[in-house]
């Protein structure tokens, strides 16, 4: 394999990110036999909070809200039902989304590695959708919530025991827009 492992994947990632799911999208060819063009490097993401912000209290609140939004929820084996004990966590996220109108999030569903590899992507999708539907039922617009599934590909805990598996059956919540300055819900 005569590849340049560093540049080509970046180029593919960058190029594939250009398309946006429409039929007329151009086909992207990335010849690896020729020297690849310098890969466009995306600018580093803006810092979540400005450390020089004089309003230290606002920064503290933003950090606290972000931390709360990041709380994961867990699932039973091969299930996508929201557990009763996780409802308050989701209720809190719904309230935060209501209090911060420009906030958009991505919910990503994960599975433990016991089921089929390919089915676990399907299961992660169901888990992400379950949380999304719950938030929608609390009045959050569907357009503010993206979903993704990582199946068993990103374990939180690499162990092979009940505790690890339980940790891995989860939804993660990530801010994708509007998280620079957040307020606590009333």
């Amino acid at each position: 394999m005569r590849r340049r492992p560093g540049l080509v994947p970046l180029a593919l990632i960058a190029l594939s990110a250009l398309g946006c799911g429409k039929k007329a999208e151009p086909v992207v060819d990335v010849p690896t036999s020729n020297p690849p063009a310098p890969a466009p490097v995306p600018p580093p993401p803006a810092p979540a909070t400005n450390p020089t912000d004089p309003n230290a209290e606002a920064a503290r609140v933003t950090a606290a809200v972000r931390a709360e939004l990041g709380n994961v929820i867990h699932f039973d084996y091969d299930q996508d039902a929201i557990k009763p004990e996780d409802r308050p966590i989701l209720d809190r996220k719904a309230a935060i989304l209501q209090a911060n109108a420009s906030l958009r999030i991505r919910i990503s569903g994960h599975a433990d590695d016991r089921g089929s590899d390919e089915y676990n992507l399907v299961l992660g999708n169901k888990r992400a959708l379950a949380a999304k539907r719950y938030l929608e039922s609390k009045g959050i617009a569907a357009s503010r919530i993206d979903v993704a599934s990582f199946g068993e590909e990103r374990p939180a805990d690499p162990g092979q025991n009940e505790t690890s598996w339980a940790m891995n059956r989860r939804d993660e919540f990530e801010i994708i827009a509007g998280g620079e300055r957040l307020v606590q819900p009333r």
Binding site: S16, G19, E118
Partner: protein, 429 residues
């Protein structure tokens, strides 16, 4: 050509009796059921060490012969008036003898002798890479497949490759069917899933799981490494691509908000995506074409658990394919349709671990093929009798090849855990 050095009768007797000292010169395939497979002796072939070793192993891995591999340094049998000493090799228990002789340049003459009938069964003159290294091995593997076809009338699997995902670096790797030629295919830093071969063996398709969770389908040309993101799959989440047998179409699953549905695509013009399955809260995925391209087996959760269904390639006539006991039978996944169209291989959860099953479509009979450890994601070889799958029976998940005719299995070593294998059709035909 047949100037065989003198061979002491005492040595012949010793070989026949197989004392401990002769174990490195005669290997009788005692792992096979004796009397079922014809025994084939591979004669010493001066100047063709690599070719002889590769062909001998290919014939062994075909599981169609019991191989008696004489050491390359073994003295030849006593000369007779016949082309080879039929009686001597019969005394080793062989029914067939393979004679390889080096011709000019890269030419090799291969003669298969029928020891019982005392005549030459097949003669093949082929140009191969006598060094048998790197890409040159494929020319030797093709010779092996030609021999197998000449003897059995069936396709061989020597000149084929397997792609899989390497769990450590999440790249697609490939390996020759005999375990040689292990190399990465997809670039470093690109996380991949579910590789499949195009029917001509020129390309692979796979899902690329991005950091953001999108999953475009990528087509990669094996020779050049050129990659193409399938239009309409960038920015969306797609998995389990499958090429149609004529190479012009593809069916894949798309993860959506109502559920997971199967779509078709014209892969020649990279256009014309069509929805094949509906069902608002059902998931349909892991499609596998029948060899005539008219039907597609797939996994659906429409009745609760994951089970194997079938439909026409245009999405009509969807029905359950592999029967199961509702509430009792474990989840069934990863179907693959055999090249002769007669059998579906899949894995099913049995007492918490997946096991390989085959389903005979005509007899409607299900046969468990594995029972030890976790065994999953089967893919058929082009001969329709060998399966490659992932098993952790010796520890970490590795590629295993099972001959469904004899039950013989072997491991293909990979550097880390292997996942999601796919067996090619013959390479370079």
């Amino acid at each position: 050509m047949r100037r065989l050095p003198l061979f002491a009768l005492a040595v012949a007797i010793a070989l026949g009796a197989a004392p401990a000292g002769a174990q490195d010169t005669v290997r009788v395939g005692i792992t096979y059921r004796p009397g079922v497979l014809p025994a084939l002796v591979v004669l010493p072939a001066p100047g063709l060490d690599s070719v002889r070793a590769i062909v001998g192993r290919d014939l062994d891995f075909s599981n169609r012969f019991e191989i008696i591999q004489l050491a390359q340094s073994a003295p030849a049998a006593p000369r007779t008036a016949t082309p080879i000493n039929y009686a001597f090799y019969r005394s080793l228990g062989a029914a067939l003898a393979l004679e390889l002789t080096a011709g000019p340049g890269e030419q090799v003459t291969t003669r298969l002798h029928d020891l019982g009938a005392e005549r030459m069964h097949t003669e093949l003159i082929r140009t191969v890479d006598k060094g048998g290294a790197g890409e040159g091995r494929m020319s030797v593997h093709r010779l092996s497949d030609d021999l197998i076809r000449a003897v059995t009338g069936q396709p061989g699997i020597a000149a084929t490759r397997i792609v899989f995902q390497n769990a450590n670096d999440k790249r697609i790797w490939r390996v020759d069917s005999d375990g040689a030629g292990l190399v990465p295919v997809s670039p470093a830093g690109v996380e991949t899933l579910s590789p499949v071969w195009s029917p001509d063996g020129m390309r692979v398709a796979y899902a690329h799981l991005t950091r953001e969770g999108t999953m475009p389908i990528v087509l990669q040309t094996m020779q050049t490494g050129t990659r193409t993101v399938v239009p309409t799959t960038a920015g969306t989440r797609n998995m389990t691509p499958a090429f149609s047998p004529d190479g012009t179409g593809m069916i894949f699953a798309r993860l959506g908000e109502p559920g997971v549905a199967l779509y078709s695509l014209n892969v020649r013009d990279l256009c014309c995506v069509e929805l094949l399955t509906g069902g608002r809260f059902a998931e349909n995925f892991s499609p596998a074409y029948s060899p005539d391209g008219r039907r597609v087996a797939f996994v659906s959760t429409r009745a609760g658990s994951q089970q194997i269904y079938v439909m026409a390639a245009d999405g009509t006539d969807q029905e359950l394919l592999v029967p199961y006991d509702f509430g009792d039978t474990g989840n069934s996944n990863a179907p693959d349709w055999s090249p002769d169209g007669a059998t579906i291989a899949f894995h099913r959860e049995v007492r918490g671990a997946p096991q390989i099953y085959t389903f005979d479509l005509a007899a409607r009979r299900q046969t468990p093929r594995t029972s030890t450890g976790r065994n999953e994601d089967p893919s058929w070889a082009p001969d329709g009798r060998h399966l490659v799958f992932i098993s952790d029976r010796t520890g970490r998940r590795q590629l295993w090849v099972l001959d469904t005719e004899t039950g013989v299995s072997r491991q293909i070593m990979t550097p880390a855990s292997a996942r999601l294998p796919a067996w090619s059709r013959p390479i370079g035909r």
